[in-house]
């Protein structure tokens, strides 16, 4: 485990390595510190935080912020909605994308280039915000939970990644061999292709999942009914529109100063609570990242 070996290195090499090390350290802190800070700030006393006295560890430990968050029904409604939309949405995404990518990866499928072209064009052109909105109106998807799940359920970028993967890992010979034993495309896809594709399913599934979880735009444009709003919209109200307390600051004994005192702590806490699921899944999926991107970046 070579940390710092000076064997066989010139002076300029050592200088270079030191610089790299320092740069890396700087980058690491630059990224890690804000996140760490949010964690400790969410359990620290608000006043101490806002006067800059909380820097490396929590001070004035208090779980008040989290208690308020758990008592806030908006958060729970938002959480519930987001989980439903994410699970259903990702399922539909994969259900549509995987077979389509498989079909596009079959070299002897006649309509292959034409269909690929149709898909790729949508990456650069779209009707624009207004025509899309009017379409949703026609389809009565406005103020309807299905607007989070059905439209745009095929992301062409992910489609291409999956297709490239299938092209390289499911050669024609494999299918022809199976075909001689009487295997249909459906059977091949279900019994052979899918089990071999765990890596790409994880990566593309993750892309879709995170896309759904973080989706803020759909709810903003198409939903009016507050009970259908996903977590991100609730977050916007709390974090950005300063509607920190459900009843509004000043209600239920939370008069002016009191509300202001805890508003910040709640904000920090809410950031953690909403990102937590992603952070938990993150380590498990991380090993697939580089592989996944390499899959997608093969010239295709």
């Amino acid at each position: 485990m070579k940390i710092f070996s000076t064997k066989g290195k010139t002076k300029s090499d050592i200088v270079f390595d030191t610089i790299i090390l320092i740069l890396c350290l700087f980058i690491f802190l630059l990224v890690a510190y804000p996140l760490y800070f949010v964690i400790i700030a969410s359990v620290s006393d608000s006043t101490l935080v806002s006067t800059g006295q909380v820097t490396l560890y929590p001070k004035g430990f208090s779980l008040f912020g989290y208690k308020e968050i758990f008592n806030d029904s908006r958060i729970w409604v938002g959480y519930k909605n987001t989980i439903i939309y994410t699970v259903l949405g990702t399922f539909v995404n994969l259900l549509l994308t995987l077979p389509a990518a498989y079909v596009l990866s079959r070299q002897d499928f006649k309509a292959r280039r034409f269909l690929m072209f149709i898909f790729v064009v949508t990456m650069f052109f779209n009707g624009g915000l207004i025509p899309t909105y009017l379409l949703m109106k026609e389809l009565s998807l406005i103020n309807n939970m299905w607007v989070f799940i059905l439209p745009f359920s095929v992301n062409v970028f992910n489609l291409i990644i999956t297709r490239t993967f299938f092209e390289s890992s499911l050669p024609k010979e494999l299918f022809e061999a199976a075909q001689m034993d009487g295997c249909t495309h459906f059977q091949f896809f279900g019994k052979i292709a899918l089990p071999l594709s765990k890596a790409v399913i994880s990566v593309v599934g993750l892309y879709y999942l995170v896309g759904h979880w973080n989706d803020f735009f759909t709810g903003l444009i198409y939903i009016r009914d507050y009970s259908l709003q996903p977590l991100q919209i609730v977050l916007r109200d709390i974090l950005l529109s300063n509607q920190v307390f459900a009843e509004g600051a000043g209600a239920g004994g939370a008069a002016g100063g009191y509300a202001q005192k805890y508003a910040d702590q709640i904000k920090y806490g809410v950031i953690i609570v909403s990102t937590l699921p992603i952070l938990i899944i993150y380590p498990f999926i991380q090993k697939y990242f580089e592989k996944g991107v390499m899959i997608g970046s093969v010239k295709g």
Partner: protein, 321 residues
């Protein structure tokens, strides 16, 4: 979905003459009906949600009349385009949009490359892994949370960054001042995405032939020279493709993040074409006008994309098509 009766028919051998198109499609349908079934849902979705709205683009050329629907309005041609170009908002919108886009590209494009080059130089595997894990993480934070993070950290009175700035004597309100908007926007973008975007470059660097490194060493190259002459050329193809793609999005300055960061104080520099379309389209229902602006936006993007692709093709052999 799987059929039970086995299909033992082998594929029809390729014909050497060109059959009539009609027979070709029919043959394909018959032989590959399973494939068609598998791809049909995706095609239907794309047609409904991506192509049908494209037809609605003609709204930009018509006077929208809600009693007559999208296609019923009276044809007004380029009227709304002219109105947009001559409006008092045009100059500001174009300026803001272009400034933000260019800044994002000029600063945001090199960042992942530099990051990948640095990380690639780290020898100690554990440290390399740790840095990578850390640096990918912000990408997964939602935009709302990101802007919320900016608001609490950069707040002049109560935020960590605010305090640091104050102790240096820089008393700008990072969240409200017009001058700070673009830097904050671009730098936070880099903070959030440079790590994730560097993956593709790291993957390209990892596949560089080790022999190249060896021969560079034998020739007495310093580490810096190795980077210049071995690492960089290895990632140039990737760079070009990604650059062309980002050019194609030059006017699509991320609506969501700007929308979230806007406030009455920074509006003169933060109002871009996309947010304006939203405001006059969804909020004040001027459908035709905003459709025209949206189309204008798409057209400019398209022109840039074609131009960049052409330039790339002329000067290297790499292009999108």
């Amino acid at each position: 979905m799987a059929l039970i009766n086995p299909q033992a028919k082998k594929a029809v051998p390729e014909m050497t003459t060109k059959p009539a198109k009609k027979r070709n499609i029919l043959q394909s349908l018959k032989r590959d009906y399973q494939l068609w079934i598998m791809i049909l849902p995706a095609i239907v979705i794309i047609i409904i949600f991506n192509y049908i709205p494209m037809y609605g683009v003609q709204l930009a050329f018509r006077e929208y009349d809600f009693t007559k629907g999208i296609t019923g309005g009276e044809w007004v041609g380029l009227h709304y385009f002219k109105e947009f170009i001559n409006s008092y908002m045009f100059a500001d919108l174009m300026k803001n949009t272009v400034v933000i886009s260019l800044a994002t590209i000029i600063l945001g494009f090199p960042a992942p490359i530099i990051l990948a080059l640095i990380i690639n130089q780290v020898i100690w595997k554990r440290w390399k892994k740790a840095i990578q894990t850390t640096v990918y993480l912000p990408h997964f934070i939602s935009l709302v949370v990101m802007v919320g993070l900016l608001n609490v950290l950069l707040s002049p009175n109560s935020g960590v960054v605010g305090h640091i700035m104050h102790s240096f004597g820089w008393d700008i309100n990072l969240l409200a001042s017009e001058k700070a908007f673009v830097p904050v926007y671009v730098l936070s973008d880099i903070w959030q995405h440079a790590g994730w975007n560097s993956i593709i470059y790291l993957a390209a660097l990892a596949s560089v032939d080790p022999q190249l490194y060896d021969s560079a060493k034998i020739d007495g190259a310093s580490r810096w020279q190795t980077i210049r002459y071995v690492d960089l050329p290895a990632i140039v193809p990737t760079m070009i493709i990604l650059f062309i793609l980002s050019m194609g999005n030059i006017l699509n300055t991320g609506f969501e993040k700007i929308f979230l960061m806007q406030n009455p104080l920074n509006l003169p520099v933060s109002e871009v074409i996309a947010t304006y379309v939203y405001k006059i389209g969804i909020i004040s229902n001027q459908f035709s006008y905003s459709a025209a602006i949206g189309l204008f936006n798409t057209m400019i993007n398209f022109v840039f994309l074609i131009a960049m692709n052409y330039i790339a093709k002329r000067f290297s052999n790499i292009s999108l098509w």
